[in-house]
Symmetry: C2
Subunit: 212 residues, 2 copies
Amino acid sequence: MITTPDNLPPEEIERRSFAIIRKELGKLTFPPDMLPVVTRVIHTTADFDYAHTLAFSDNAVAHGLAVLGEGRAIVTDTQMAAAGINKKACSHIGCSVYCLIADPGVAEAAKHGNCTRSRAAVDAAAERWPDGVYAVGNAPTALIRICELVDAGTLRPGLVVGAPVGFVNVVESKELLLAAGVPHIVARGRKGGSTVAAAIINALLYMIARPA
Amino acid sequence: MITTPDNLPPEEIERRSFAIIRKELGKLTFPPDMLPVVTRVIHTTADFDYAHTLAFSDNAVAHGLAVLGEGRAIVTDTQMAAAGINKKACSHIGCSVYCLIADPGVAEAAKHGNCTRSRAAVDAAAERWPDGVYAVGNAPTALIRICELVDAGTLRPGLVVGAPVGFVNVVESKELLLAAGVPHIVARGRKGGSTVAAAIINALLYMIARPA
């Protein structure tokens, strides 16, 4: 039975949701810069596992806020993650979101290179935005390629959000990122997804500005 | 450490993932029509809770396959869910995907009606596609409105996928759908999301045809 009015404005629904999440987090505490990220990911998934799996490199949030504040490009591995990032907040801050997975040149490069389109899309993005913010919500092959290019010195991302989901090379790709020596926010383990990657980016954007 | 080759083709990654999922489902068994839906949702989320929370009305999969096979419109509540549905499979079968949330008319109607845009978008969609397939991955207000219109007799959806996520009115909106007397596939409880809604639709589409 619906006991809460169903015409609450979205910001009130979010406020009540965040209050429930904070209450259910109970004694689990987080540094003040990480808390909005953890809370928004749980808000997006209704999954409290993320309170235990989200991992932040030193000052990851500060790094993220700084590079987003500079208007760096945000690059995602999926159209879904791109669709989930708040465009109004991006444009207010001066960032743009890009996903090259459907580019004809990427399909061509994947075919010639005998690799996944996700991997080829990272190569194409790295050329255009070598200092971008990279958010991976689906493809471990994208995250592995990001780590290779970081290692080779051709990609110097402002932040990498590592949240691919699944069963093959997913956990391993995240462990690579944890050791890659770049600012990162990672959803360790098998879980993640485009909604999680977008939620992490949105949490950072909203810490800078949240236009109505 | 990456021990599996990271240039496996996507279909091989999916095959291996599905094998892992079936193995980990262990003694949990599902009717053959539901299994591809359950497996694909777990594949999308890496969350085995869905093996326990997915609920199907009688012959929901058969209903879904029939109406999708007729080329009925697929209506989603979010751009993310729309982005996650396989357009190649849709176009092969003759379906199109619609999300009206960003329509200027919907924003106007929400403002005048003092309701969420998600709810106003259902009203607009119901006029255009009264027999469509409705997939809700985010907004309980959308799902509540669908149930109201079904009750009023103005919406006769071919199938409703109920997978909103969150903490306010989410569980309640799904219980409404379970009692609404329309063919449905529901992710009970708080969990769900645009990826889950899209995965359920994709599972059905792939049971009809999966173009390369």
